[in-house]
Each structure stands twice: as structure tokens, then as C-alpha cells.
């Protein structure tokens, strides 16, 4: 069944080409085409998840030569971490198509862009050749640029170019790192790079980590490289925000887990000469992201901006889990990635529904969703609770494990960073509860405002869009191992370079 990964990655490409070719007067055909393609892709991923053997490491391998002279290969495979992210990508892509049902302007181009975006997202999570990985990594930029610049808000041109410039700036340094790594190791294969001779010298590892850090950290985004994110989110159309927050940010943290840690372990734990190890740097940046994101979220008057800054905060937990280098921490990181994809996707969908009806996202103009539009209000409240990490919902699992991993690493013998950072990060959970509950109190509860008073409740299609996400939030939150049984074996395999922690 090794064809299945190629099918999952390239089916949306075929769909995108077909959608782009649709004549102008085809009207609603594009959305149905996109829904069918994204739906079939989701089914394929579901089949993949069903037949995936959690104990077997990399599976469904396709590995053929692509450019022989440059030793570039077409190498796809999934392990427990990839498949989790792939499932998220396929699910949210399908949801994004459903959420875009009312796009009127140039629908065939719009849905072609959404499907093209799915190609890049799916590809990043299954590519095991570094050049192929980079191809998918950059492929994501183009459709997202057009989604923002053609269907975005009033400042779309500024925001879309800023998004493109920032992320390209990070990723070209990653490209230099990829080439430099090849010149030392003689291979682009991500799985072999960790083990292939010759061993990297400490300073090589350090500088390569810097190159990869720039590529990945901009995407995550880690403070202080996050400033593109609020602009891009606010201006993007709803589906764009869902995929941006739900999947694109995870590409950055996935890169850290899949590439930076296993290939450059010494840079993280040992440093090089006078250059400090990266672990404490990552922890400090993660903590700042958590607290800064939460603090800034407090001050927002725009719902979308609030959710955007909360993403910076949540992705900080992912970075903390990754930097802990413990199995608990990285399990937690992947769990936050999955959960944040569901929950933030949900929040952006809800903000989108509110905006579609009221044409405002200003918190002061909105109140009393619950009495006026109970379905919207209820799902909004549920998503907020999941976001703040309420036990029993998916947000709690990952944040708990990330903090646990961070604490273990900080209190272990010879720890490189102080437990104070973990404690400060934990305060971030409290802050999240505070700004989320305050938002719920202002927006969901109370008497309906003038804008809200004119709203209709969710339609059947909208309910169908959000229900799978809500259900999964509870499933993962209550039965943790539904997710972690995939992730854990892969995490332990990846941590082998750190002395099989």
C-alpha cells in the first residue's frame, strides 16, 4: 500500500488543477469538487490511520530516485508523529472547504488555492527527503499568500506580503543549512542524516541548528519572530486562518521534532565551545512566548487578534515540551499541536461565523451570543474552555505533559535551565484561563447587543463543520491514549540520539 501516501499528497493537486480549469460560469461546481477531493483525501487518511501499525516505526515507504546527480530522492513515509499531523491536515482542509461554502468571488481560483495548500501541508508531514521536504514547505507559501491577498480583509496586501517575506526569510536559511548538511553527510535523507557518518563537529551542529531554528521558529512562531502572525490571521479569510493556525504553525514545531533534534542533538544539549547549548535558549524563548502571547491577548479588542495571540502562547507550550527533550514533554508537544489545531481551528470558525453575521469582530460590539444564538454561543464557549486547558478536553493533555516534561528536565541532574522558567510557563495557563473566560463573559454571556440581536443561529452545514472538531476535542481529552498511542513510540525512537531518555 505504499501508493497511498503519494495519493494522499497529490490527489489535492489534481483537484486544484481541475478546479483552476473550471470555466468562470461554472458557479458552485468548484466547491463541490473541492469538497469531494478533500473528502476523499480525508477518507484515505482515515484508512491509513486504521491500518497503521503503531509498533513499526516508519511505514508505507516510497523511496525512489528523483534527481540522481544531486542525490535527491522521492522519499515518503509516516511514523506516529507524521500520521497525527497528516490526519490533522486532512481533517482541517476538509473543514476549511466546508467553511468556505459562501465564497462568491472567483470560487474556482479560491478552491484551487485551498487544495494546493493541502498538497503542501500533507507533503511536509510525510516527506523524508530534505529537498522534497523543502519543496512542500515552500509550496505552502504561495496559496496562502493568494488566499490572504485576494480574499482577505482591508489590509490584506500588507499582511500577505509580510507573511510571505517573513517565512521565506526564515526558510532560505534553512535551505543553506540543508545544503551544508548534505555537504558534510552526503545525503538528503532525513532518517539517515541522524545516523550517517561522519559525525558533525560541535560548532557545525551549533551553526546548523541556528539555520534550522530560523526556518522553523519563524513558522511556529517563537517570540520575537511572531509579528507576522497577528497581521496574517486578522486579514486572512476564515478558512485561511483555520489552516494557518491549525496546520501551518505545526510545520515549524514538526520541523524541530523531526529534523533539528534528532540530527543535531549535541547543539541542543552541549553547545559548542563558548557557544551556549540551545536547550536553555529554547526554554526561555518558549516561556516568553507563553507569557507574552497571553499578556497581549488580554489587551485585544478584536476577537481574531485575541485568538491569534493565544496561538503564540499555546505554541510556546509546544516549544517548551520540545525543549525538555523528555518523552513526556515531546508527547505533550505533539498533543498540544494536535489539540491546538482542533481548538484554534474551531475558534476561528466561530469568529468567522460571528463576523459573517455581524460584520464585526470587535469584542465591545458583541455580547450575549448564548441567549440569542445558543448553538454558536455553546460551541464558542466549549472551544474557549478547550483552549484554556480544561481537563477532559484536548487542550489539557498536552499542556500538562509539556509542563511535566519541562519540570522533569529542569529538576534532573545537570539540568541546563532553572525550574523557575517552568513555573513561569505554568502561570501562562492561568493567564489563558483569565483572558479566555473574560472573553467568554463579555461575548458569549450577557444580554444580546444590537449586532448580536440580528443574528441567526448555525445552519446544518455549519454544525456539520464544527461537530467533528468538538467531538475529537472530547475524545482526545478523555481518552488520551487514542492520540498518544500513535505518538509515544515515535517520540521514543526520535529521542534515541539523546541517550534513549
Amino acid at each position: 500500500m505504499s501508493w497511498i501516501l503519494s495519493a494522499i499528497v497529490f490527489l489535492p493537486l489534481a483537484g486544484a488543477l481541475a478546479a483552476a480549469m473550471l470555466p468562470k460560469e461554472s458557479g458552485g461546481a468548484a466547491k463541490w469538487l473541492a469538497a469531494v477531493v478533500a473528502g476523499v483525501d480525508l477518507v484515505l487518511v482515515a484508512v491509513l490511520v486504521a491500518v497503521f501499525d503503531v509498533g513499526k516505526g516508519m511505514q508505507f515507504v516510497t523511496d525512489v530516485v528523483w534527481v540522481p546527480q544531486a542525490h535527491i530522492r522521492y522519499h515518503l513515509a509516516v511514523d506516529g508523529i507524521s500520521i497525527t499531523m497528516l490526519a490533522l491536515s486532512a481533517l482541517l482542509s476538509f473543514v476549511a472547504v466546508l467553511a468556505s461554502w459562501k465564497v462568491e468571488s472567483k470560487p474556482s481560483t479560491y478552491f484551487a488555492m485551498l487544495l494546493l495548500l493541502e498538497v503542501g501541508m500533507n507533503g511536509v508531514f510525510v516527506a523524508l527527503d530534505f529537498v522534497l521536504f523543502y519543496v512542500f514547505w515552500e509550496l505552502v507559501l504561495v496559496p496562502m499568500y493568494f488566499l490572504i491577498s485576494m480574499w482577505g480583509g482591508p489590509r490584506r496586501e500588507y499582511a500577505s506580503l509580510k507573511f510571505f517575506l517573513y517565512t521565506l526569510f526564515g526558510s532560505v536559511f534553512m535551505l543553506v543549512g540543508i545544503v551544508a548538511l548534505f555537504l558534510i553527510k552526503g545525503t538528503f535523507d532525513i532518517t539517515q542524516l541522524a545516523s550517517a557518518a561522519p559525525a558533525l563537529l560541535p560548532h557545525q551542529q551549533w551553526w546548523l541548528f541556528l539555520a534550522f531554528f530560523l526556518g522553523f521558529a519563524v513558522k511556529v512562531p517563537v517570540w520575537p519572530l511572531h509579528t507576522w502572525l497577528p497581521d496574517a490571521h486578522v486579514e486572512a479569510p476564515t478558512a485561511g486562518s483555520v489552516l494557518l493556525a491549525g496546520v501551518l504553525l505545526k510545520m515549524g514545531t514538526y520541523g524541530f521534532i523531526r529534523i533539528a533534534l534528532p540530527i543535531l542533538p549535541d547543539a541542543v544539549t552541549k553547545g559548542a565551545g563558548t557557544l551556549p547549548p540551545w536547550q536553555p535558549i529554547l526554554v526561555v524563548l518558549a516561556t516568553i512566548s507563553i507569557v507574552y502571547g497571553a499578556a497581549v491577548a488580554f489587551a485585544q479588542t478584536d476577537l481574531k487578534k485575541l485568538v491569534a495571540y493565544s496561538s503564540v502562547s499555546h505554541m510556546g507550550f509546544v516549544m517548551l515540551g520540545i525543549a525538555s527533550l523528555t518523552p513526556e514533554g515531546i508527547n505533550g508537544a505533539v498533543a498540544v499541536m494536535f489539540s491546538h489545531g482542533l481548538v484554534t481551528g474551531l475558534l476561528f470558525l466561530m469568529v468567522g461565523m460571528v463576523y459573517e453575521r455581524g460584520h464585526t469582530r470587535k469584542i465591545e460590539d458583541l455580547s450575549g451570543l448564548m441567549p440569542q444564538v445558543p448553538r454558536i454561543g455553546a460551541v464558542f464557549a466549549l472551544a474557549s474552555f478547550a483552549s484554556l486547558g480544561l481537563p477532559g478536553m484536548s487542550g489539557f493533555v498536552g499542556e500538562f505533559l509539556s509542563l511535566l516534561g519541562g519540570w522533569q528536565a529542569a529538576t534532573a541532574k545537570g539540568a541546563l535551565f532553572s525550574p523557575v522558567w517552568v513555573v513561569v510557563s505554568a502561570v501562562g495557563v492561568l493567564l489563558a484561563a483569565a483572558y479566555m473566560l473574560w472573553m467568554v463573559q463579555r461575548v458569549v454571556l450577557g444580554n444580546p447587543s444590537r449586532v448580536v440581536g440580528a443574528m441567526d443561529d448555525m445552519t446544518g452545514r455549519e454544525l456539520a463543520t464544527v461537530l467533528p472538531l468538538v467531538a475529537l476535542t472530547f475524545v482526545v481529552g478523555i481518552y488520551w491514549s487514542s492520540l498518544l498511542r500513535f505518538v509515544d513510540p515515535a517520540v521514543r525512537a526520535l529521542l534515541a540520539p539523546f541517550g534513549g531518555a
Binding site: 544531486a70 529537498v131 519543496v135 491577498s149 536559511f173 535551505l175 551544508a180 555537504l183
Partner: protein, 459 residues
Amino acid sequence: MIPAALRVLAPEAVLLLAACVALFGEHIPGIRRSIAGFGAAAATIAALLVMLPHTTSSFFGSMLLVDPTASFARVAIGALTAVFLLWLAARGMGRERSREAAALVLFAALGGMLMTSANDLVTLYLALELATMPAYVLIGYARTDERGLEGTLKYYLLSLLTSLIMLFGLALLFTLSGSTAYGSLELTHAGTAGLLAAVFVAVGFLAKMSAAPFHYWAPDAYAGAPAASVAFVSSVPKVAGLVAMARLLLALSGRVPGLSLALGTAAVLSMLLGNLAAYPQTDLRRLMAYSGVAHVGYLLVALTAGSAGMSAAVYYAVAYAVPSMAIMLISAEEGVTLESLESLASRAPWKAWVSVLFFLSLIGIPPLAGFFGKLYLFGVALDAGLVPLVVFAVAMSVVSLGYYFRVVRAMFARPSAETVPAAAPSAVAASAIVVLAVATVAVGIAAGPLLAPLGFSFP
């Protein structure tokens, strides 16, 4: 039986014949109207003939070196010329007659092909002039445009000056080594005279390639020329010039201290000046002129890495030439100023979208040709230890995103009140642009089969 030395020149012979037919075609009944199409066919045949195998690579007492690199460049020159002439057959040169343009283009392509195999100072200079002379006329093709003629005159005088500087350098080289063959250039004991010779030759080449700090003629010359002329002049001669420059300078670089430092400096200056000066431009011809300066900078990065950079540079030159020609062809149809390109997306959506593709390739976004070009180029340069140069180059390629996307933004702007009519659709012209679009994707994705004849291997 035709001797091998003549057989290997079959493509050049075809081009020469076609050029003559185009030049005198006025008097050949039945061919007057379709000269450009005829030229396109001839160029295609020439490109195919290049691919015929031949056993040796050195011809005419090693005056010509037809190695795989040369053949690769010759195929590219033939194919690009064919595409250009195909487009010309459909669109013509505005109000001017296009017959002469076809002849000039064929002569320039002939000169370009010979340039890539030049292995002797005399061959080099003759081929170079053969390739450059038609460019003067092409640049000044709009005879009634006064501003254009000013640019042409500037270009002509400066180009002549640099030709003479180079010729002086070549003469010095001959005096010092007593031979015009590349293989026997000898500068070890030449001292200052040898250095001067190398400086003159290098300056001549850098100016011809519009590398900073000798680039200032390009924006003015391009801005005065018809966009169609720019499409040809900014692409095909660049490929030929690069191969010729790489051959001679690499032959010299081992013998002249400091040459690669000078190339590195020119690379940095070109990338910096080209990319920054492109920002404020509102005329696409000037913008592409500066972008061309920047791309020559990337090519010079590869040459700074020494002979290992040769094949990467040739590949990159082709990866640059294809989208660059395509953008100028689109501009020739739809307008040269950013203003006139506004809302192209609603006038002719497919042209706007393929333009995006071409710009993305120029920036170096995978999986397009430009990305693989940059990948190989940076690989070679990193292998030679040029880390700061590569870091600078990648940073500059991000900078280039800004001005390329200014054009894209203009194209996708909401249509304004007054709508500019789209150029009349032409299936032939469209197919020329589509061929270039397919090439931009295919050169990237199918890099393997293309790199094999180039003898490229990643370090």
C-alpha cells in the same frame, strides 16, 4: 562523408542559412510573410542537431571546444531562440517590420552558439561581436522613438567601449603568452602586464553581462527598447555570455591572483545594487534590467567557487533566461509599465497566473527551475567554503520577492474604472508563452535528465 569538424557545426550552419534567408527573404516568393516562423523552425532544427552525438570535443586545432557544457548551452540557445521567433511570428515588432528582427535574432543566436564553444581568443572575440552587433539594432528597433534612440546610442557607445577594453585585454594576453589558445595562456611571469590583461578581460565580460559596477547601461538601454527586444537581449545572450566568460576567466583564475576575489566582490555588488535598485522601478523593462543585474550576481557566486561552479552556473543561467524571456514577452503584449499591467488578472487571467509562476521561479521557490538552479549553485559555493557569500545571496533572494511581487500585486489589483483592453488573443503567441511556462516547471522537476548531459554532480 562530411568531416566531423563540419558535422558538429551543423546547427550553426542551419542558423546561418536561416539568417541569410530571413535577411534576403523579401525576394523569395511565398516566404515573405512567414519569415519568423521559418526562423523558429530553423532554430528548433539547430537545437535538435546539437544533440547528435560526436566523439571528440576539440575542433579546428582547438579553436572550438564543443564539450557537454557547450552543447547544453547551445541547445538552450537554439530552443529559446525558436520560442522567441515563434512568438515573433504571431505578434511582430509593433509597428515596425519584423523580418529584419528575425534575421538579427538568428545572427545573434549564431554568435551565441559559437561563443559557448570558443576556446581561442580570436574565436571568442568574433563570436562575441557577432552576438552583440544584432543586439544594438534590436535595442533601437523603434526608429521613431527618440528616447529609445538615446538609450540605443548609450548602449552602442558603452558596448563598443567595453568591447575595445576587452579587445585590449585579449591583445595583452596574446602578447604575453604568444598564443591565442586558451590552453596555452601563460601569465605566471607576466607581473603587472598580466594583471592588467586579466582586469581588462574581466571588466569587458562583466560589462557585457551587466554585472555591477559596470551595469549602468542596461536599465537605460532596456527602457528605450521594445519589450520584445528586451525579451531576447536579456535572456539568450546571457546564457552564451556566461559560458564564454566562465571559460576564459576560469582559465585565467588559476594564474592571476585575486581574480576570484574580484569576482566575489562583483557578485556582492551586483546582488546588492540589482536587488535594491529594482525596488523603485515602475517600468517593467528597467525592473527586469536590475533583476538581471542581481541574477548575474548569483552566477558570479558560482564562478567565484572556481571550475566546480561552471555547470551549476550554466544551469542557473538557463533557469534565469526562461522566465525572464517569458515575462518580457507578456509585457510586450500587455504593457511595460506597472500601471498598464494593473488588473491583468481580470483582463487575461492565465497570463497573470503564469507571470506568478515565472516570478516565483526567479525568486527561487521550489519546485521550479530557479529553485534547483539556486540549490546547485549554493551547494557548489558552500562546498568551496564561500559561506558569507551564500548567506548574502539567500538573503538577497528574499529581498527580490518584494519587487517581483509589486508587479504581481499590480496584476491582481482590482480593476479600475477605465479598463484596458487585453491584447487580441493569439494561439501561436500563447503557445510560445505556455512552452516557457512548462519549461520553467519541467527544468526544475526533471532536473535529472537535464543535468546528466551537463556532467553535473553535486559535490
